[in-house]
Each structure stands twice: as structure tokens, then as C-alpha cells.
Subunit: 335 residues, 2 copies
């Protein structure tokens, strides 16, 4: 049984035109998914993976037209990719292995068939890359705009999920990759709404790669004490770790790696790196005695500060002056 | 940790006003939910229940304003109740035990605080009744209307989920409760949009009770060979069983129990019982040698026909004349 086929058929009934060209990801045989689309529920056997007991991870994320994407700015492939990437990134942030996804999709009546095909293509390509089975979902007519809600289930060895609450004073703060690329791209589109950006020059915004492998390595090697993905922006996501762990933090402004975007690979403004969301990097803490490599699974890892006893977060400049960093809360198009 | 509190807090931040009066269901200590809202994912330990291995059930269902409910027809409590009832009914249709729910909720900017409080009250009352923990979700601003997507996870003993595909020729077809009450109520509101109906007189539409206990009893006693819930209407849901099982069916028109609605308890038209959706009863088949009681867990069970070899579904009247019954596909407000 190939569950994707059944969901595509359901979307086709909804769209009332053929979906012949839709590329269906060849889902690898997933022993966890016993029954997918075509019954009242999907049936998953999550109890054990290779003989060891596991805990199950569940995450849900909206992708709403006009809130998370715009049809005139984002290609259907990008919308499909980003929809699933949000969920995969949450699984990565727990050090987990993604297993199955569920897509609830409401479409307006007059949506072109090609949009649906290309959306499904973007989503299923990413699903195939991470061996995630699209195991179910729901479809509906949308009264206004495209509405998607993705659920991703994952697994992690029993008791080993990397939570936000494990940071301790003295722990170092690390970041994968670079920050600000996604928000700075959005700002460029807001400034020049008619200029079409080439997604290849702005990959972190249009096709962000969830750090699934990195998250698993950090968990397997027991390197991280706390972890989160940077979906809401560094200032907000670090505040989440501090709040859940009951600690504070000091960041070194000049150490925060900033994205380079566009054909000219221009470095983004520090404000985007501090407060811009949707970069989907991993932000984690590690005790000082742990040796964290400068590169894991091909991704650069940078130490950007350390955890403190106080409950506040300070940003230090190169001369040692500090100012408090307040979480600004990423709001997509509203900034 | 009470995950409901964290989600309510998240909804409060979204709505930017206090939620003091929101009633939070006292979730019983749910050993399956290790970490809920407040991290990247919920962490569930689903591996075993009371020493036996289990399979995990997953279902997702949209509740969209203008598609599944109207704010001028449905109270917030009814919208919240129906939102979760849809998911619980899917778990019931597999003979499963519901464990945890995840709510993705997008709200328009100007939604009154009282609406959110009352919606949460309706949803959490039902969650409490079935000991389901609200373990996570997502919140967003909605560009248009209220958008909810509910995910329910459940458990069933390994290999025991009641699928749609188990019906065999000669099996009897049974139905719990009565049909048509929900759709006939909707028709009344469509005819007189300004007349306010008293939900107490139309419980099956405004506060449908998912048949969770009944589904479990049918599975435990090994009575049913196939099962589905009547969310899309008898003609469509029976067609799903026939399609998945590779069989046909004969229904006796006069045996189909029809709802009585309103203060006058008027019996609904047979068309509503045949094609109206959202009754959330259980439709199941059982081999002829099984003794199916006339009442299970207080709910009347009626034999309404039998499974045949052909692939088509026929409706027989009292004089023995037959006509083919085509699935009509329930479309909420579009009928």
C-alpha cells in the first residue's frame, strides 16, 4: 500500500481534475506504518525500533496563505517543502528520527491543478529524502486561501529526547549554520513586491534544510544539554531555553554567524540574525567539559555565548559592553 | 505539568487579552504523555499499556468556519465539542482508546475573548470525559475565519484495529443509534437562517457523542468484522466498507433507524438517514454466527442489511423491490 497515492486521489477528488503528473514519492517500506490513508485512522506500530524501546514525538504546524507564505512570492514547491520542513525541524530539535507525516489540506475552489501538483511535489521530495511516510491527513474546501497543517511523528530512544529545559549555568551556547537569511529574504520581497527572487540565491528561505541528522548526532553523542530550533528567531528561541531551564545567557554579538544571501552573497544585518525567524537551525547548549566539533555532518557549529545564573539574556559587543536582549517574537509578514 | 494550561496561555498571547475564566479540564495523570506543550514536540510513551504491546492510531480532522460550522448557528461550546468529537469518533471506529489530542488553532484578530473561552470549554469538557490529554498544537493568526485542526492519538492492542476491509459476503450490517439527525438539523437552519435552535432539542447535531465505549466493546468481544463511523453519510460510508472489503451490500430501507429531532421529536426524512453526514454513529459488519446484542453500553444496535458478493449496494423496500444506492458524499453546507 502506498498511502501517498490515496491522499493524492483524495486531493484530486477535491480539485475535481486529474492529477496525472503529480510525482509520488516512492516511500521506502516503513515498518512503523501498518495502515495509512483509506481507513478512519492510520495505524502505526511505534513500540520498538531495532529491539529498543522508544518514545514517540508529535508536532503540528500550520502553513497558512497570507500568514506563512504568499502565492505571488513562494512557488508551490517552496510552500510544500517549507510546510514539511517546519515539522521535521521540530523533530530534529528533540534529537529524533522522523517517521510519518499527516497533512491536513484545505484548498480554495478555483486553485489551479498545477499548483496542487507542484505543492505535493515539493512536500513529497522532502519526505522521501528523510524516509518519512505521508500516512494520512484530511482534505476540505477552503472558504479563503490555502490552509495546510502538518503533523509529524518521530521516535527517540526512551528517555533521550533533547528538551529545552536542560541548560545549566556555565554551559556553552552553540548554533548550527547561520542566522537571518530567511527574514532578510522576506524583507527584500516586502521592499520590492514585484521583483521575483531566484530561490537558488535564497535557499534558506525558500528551501530550508531541517537539521535532522545533526540533531540525531548531538543526541547519540550526548553532547547537548538543551536544544531548540530557530523558528521564532534567536532572541525568542534562546529565551524559551532560558525560561524552561530557569537560567540566563550572555551572547557575543560578533560571534553570531550571519547568513549571506542573494547572488552577491551579502551578509545580512545583525538585527535579522538576532530576531528573524524561520531559519530552522539548531540552537543548543553543552556543558563546558564536552568537546563540540566545529563541524558535524557537514554543518558548521559555532559557539556564540554561555548560560548564566541570572534569568536575563545579555548581548555583549566587542568592547565588552552589554545590553539586555529582549525576545521580539517573530511574526512572519507583520514585521 | 498540565499541558492544557500552556496551550491556553499560548491562545491568550495570540488573543492578547486575559483568559482567566477559561475552564481547564483536570487532565487525569496520563502516563503516555511525558512532555506536552512547552517544547518542540510532545513526547509520548506509547510502547505498552498494562504490559501488552499496542498499535498507535492517528487521525486528523479540520473544523473550518463556513465549511464545518457557522458562528451564527453554532455556539462556541458546540464548535469546540464537535471539533474533538470528529477525532474521537475516528478512534472509536477502529475500536481504539483515545489518549492524547493536539489542537492547531488559527484565530482572526478581532475574535471576542469570550468565544475562545467557550470554545476551549466545549473541547476540554469532552476531552475530560474521555480522559484525553490535550498535549500540544499550534496557534496562528488567521487571515479569514476560525480554523481548527484536531489530531487525536489512540491505542489499540497489537493487530486488533477494526479496519474497513474485513467485511465478507453473508456478514450482517449493523448500526448504532439513529441516522439523519445532524443533517436534518442543518437543513432546518438553512431554511430559517435567523431562527435560533435550542441545542438541547438537537443534541446529535450540536453535541454528538462519539461511540468510544461501544467501539471498544465490539473490538474486545471480537464481534465486528469491519467498522466505520458515519461521518459522511450511510450511503458513502457503507460504500467505503464495500470498496475496501471488495464486497457489495443489501440494505432494508424500513429497518434503518431514523433520528427524531426538535421539541416535537419528529422523525427525519429517509433521505437524511441515507445520505446525511456527521451523525458519528458506528456502522459495522459481523459474521452471521456472532450474536450481536440489541443494546451495547446503553446504545441500541440495529441490523439493517447484509453484505453480498456483488460490488454494488442495493436498497430494498418492504415489497422486496430493489434500487441501487449510490454514495452521495456529504458536503456540509453545500447540500
Amino acid at each position: 500500500m502506498i498511502p501517498e497515492k490515496a491522499l493524492i486521489a483524495q486531493i484530486r477528488r477535491l480539485a475535481k481534475t486529474p492529477l496525472a503528473k503529480t510525482r509520488v514519492a516512492k516511500s521506502r517500506n516503513n515498518p512503523a506504518v501498518l495502515a495509512g490513508i483509506g481507513d478512519d485512522c492510520a495505524v502505526l506500530r511505534l513500540a520498538r525500533r531495532s529491539g529498543n524501546q522508544v518514545d514517540t514525538l508529535v508536532t503540528t504546524d500550520f502553513s497558512l496563505e497570507g500568514v506563512h507564505f504568499r502565492r505571488d512570492w513562494h512557488s508551490p514547491e517552496s510552500v510544500g517543502h517549507r510546510c514539511l520542513a517546519r515539522g521535521l525541524s521540530d523533530i530534529a530539535a528533540m534529537g529524533g528520527e522522523p517517521l510519518a507525516a499527516f497533512l491536513s489540506l484545505a484548498l480554495p475552489r478555483r486553485l489551479p491543478q498545477s499548483w496542487i501538483n507542484r505543492f505535493a511535489g515539493g512536500l513529497l521530495s522532502l519526505a522521501e529524502k528523510y524516509a518519512v511516510t505521508l500516512a494520512g491527513g484530511d482534505t476540505a474546501q477552503s472558504p479563503n486561501g490555502i490552509l495546510a497543517d502538518i503533523v509529524v511523528l518521530g521516535a527517540v530512544p526512551k528517555g533521550k529526547a533533547l528538551l529545552r529545559s536542560g541548560a545549566r549555568p556555565g554551559d556553552r551556547i552553540y548554533l548550527s549554520g547561520e542566522l537571518g537569511g530567511s527574514a532578510a529574504t522576506l524583507r527584500q520581497m516586502q521592499k520590492n513586491p514585484r521583483r521575483k527572487l531566484n530561490p537558488r540565491d535564497y535557499p534558506r528561505h525558500f528551501f530550508p534544510e531541517p537539521r535532522v541528522k545533526l540533531g540525531q548526532v548531538l543526541r547519540e553523542k550526548d553532547l547537548a544539554s538543551a536544544m531548540i530550533d530557530t523558528s521564532d528567531g534567536l532572541s525568542t528561541d534562546l529565551a524559551h531555553i532560558c525560561e524552561e531551564s530557569g537560567v540566563g545567557a550572555e551572547l557575543q554579538a560578533e560571534l553570531i554567524p550571519r547568513s549571506r544571501i542573494g547572488r552577491a552573497l551579502q551578509e545580512v544585518d545583525v538585527e535579522f540574525a538576532l530576531h528573524g525567524g524561520e531559519d530552522y537551525e539548531l540552537l543548543f547548549t553543552a556543558p563546558p567539559h564536552k568537546r563540540v566539533p566545529a563541524r558535524i555532518s557537514g554543518i558548521p557549529i559555532t559557539q556564540i555565548g554561555q548560560i548564566t545564573r541570572g534569568r536575563r539574556i545579555f548581548l555583549m559587543n566587542h568592547s565588552g559592553a552589554a545590553h539586555e536582549l529582549k525576545p521580539q517574537g517573530w511574526e512572519h509578514f507583520r514585521k
